[in-house]
Symmetry: C2
Subunit: 223 residues, 2 copies
DNA sequence: ATCCGCTTTATTGCATACAAAACGTTAGAT
DNA sequence: ATCTAACGTTTTGTATGCAATAAAGCGGAT
């Protein structure tokens, strides 16, 4: 079986060396749980840098919606109420399909290949059971549609909507059945992309996100 | 005629004291034009603080899309191509009417009153001809719909879309006729809000943004 | 005259030191 | 025993100094 070599590179400019990337990874891995405090000194010692780059990382993460900073009190990982998560999926269901519609006709062959790679990698990860690794791959998968939609501003707006999903660890709540269905959606998105059929991609993307909203137990009318 | 006392407070948490707010104001006023470099030392001396808070301000502005930072080279005010501006309006035309639809039924009487205040203040400003002051008021006006839409994530995503509009100084390109029409749209938005008619607000908001796209000369098919 | 390489200079990136604010604790009074 | 006030600790906010990187200027060779 072949391997998928340089995969988990979520975005080009985010060199994994920076303090920002490392703090972000701590949050994404769940090591720093929602609501927990991010003390500058502790993070600085852990990462091995001074407080200055840590502060920059926290400010950036705050602007991206992954941590919350209160003046003179420090930063903590954002914690979402079920309604927050539901709202997140509502917006994504409204706009990500449109991004897919716009992006698919613009995709190059290498983009489609990468989507297929990512989908395959996600299936591998599901088989191995390492659900936390899914978030990064899933972000990359969805991010590719978003990045290629042909509108910088649309892309950045959608990216700020996708980041919080990483800290919510939604995949942990999926049933095996829902997880499988999600993987099938990915495969179908790859097929729609390969066919350069934007409308097909739009439809399956909407399906995918609404199914995800249910799988994450994030319906508004639930207790 | 009555005055509108404490108005130009764009957002509660942005105390006008911070270095961030002052740099932002320099950009919004056009004193720092698009493309110009933001040298930390110069800004520090001008604002009267050290480089540290300046750096934090620049990082935040970068995350918000108003400046661009290249490593070891510094920050400059973002400059938009006409297509960028057009794309911005495209996205806003998709997002903001939906925000208005969601927000209007949730507005309190004090929100509607504030919208009316802001609309009146904008008309005053237009009569006085100080177009640069319009940006802040307009941001506050649109931001109120966004902030009250009942969906945190939607709100933050939209805010990142509205900030770049400030640096584009679009109002300068408006014809007197387009400026008047824009003011009428604001008045009608206030009326729709006062009637708590979300669909009316949605429709006029879409009209307002598409008209703005034309007034700013930001159609895709133009040279 | 032009191009290449070196030196100089300006600017950012990071670390450290200090100041200010918030929090927890303890001692005292009622 | 409880509430209050003041102290000490912890943590953040700011200033400053130094190192690293990139741009600019300059001299020499072709």
């Amino acid at each position: 079986m072949e391997t998928h070599p340089p995969l988990p590179r979520p975005n080009d400019r985010e060199v994994d060396e920076g303090a920002y990337a490392q703090v972000r990874a701590l949050i994404a891995s769940g090591e720093l749980a929602a609501g927990s405090w991010l003390r500058e000194k502790i993070l600085a010692e852990r990462i091995g840098v001074s407080r200055t780059p840590i502060r920059e990382a926290l400010n950036r993460l705050s602007a991206e919606g992954m941590v919350e900073i209160s003046r003179n009190k420090g930063a903590q990982v954002v914690s979402f109420t079920p309604d927050d998560v539901a709202g997140l999926y509502d917006v994504r269901a409204g706009f990500e399909p449109h991004a897919a519609l716009l992006a698919v006709p613009l995709l190059g062959d290498e983009d489609v290949d990468r989507l297929a790679e990512l989908a395959a990698a996600m299936e591998d990860v599901v088989r191995s059971g390492e659900l936390d690794a899914l978030s990064a791959l899933n972000s990359a998968f969805h991010g590719l549609f978003v990045d290629r939609c042909g509108n910088r501003h649309f892309a950045t707006a959608l990216q700020t909507l996708m980041r919080p999903a990483v800290v919510a660890h939604t995949f942990r709540k999926y049933s095996p059945e829902a997880l499988n269905r999600s993987m099938l959606h990915h495969a179908e998105l790859v097929a729609a992309a390969r066919a350069r059929d934007g409308e097909w991609a739009e439809a399956i993307m909407r399906t995918h996100i609404l199914a995800a909203r249910n799988a994450a137990g994030a319906r508004h009318d639930q207790p």
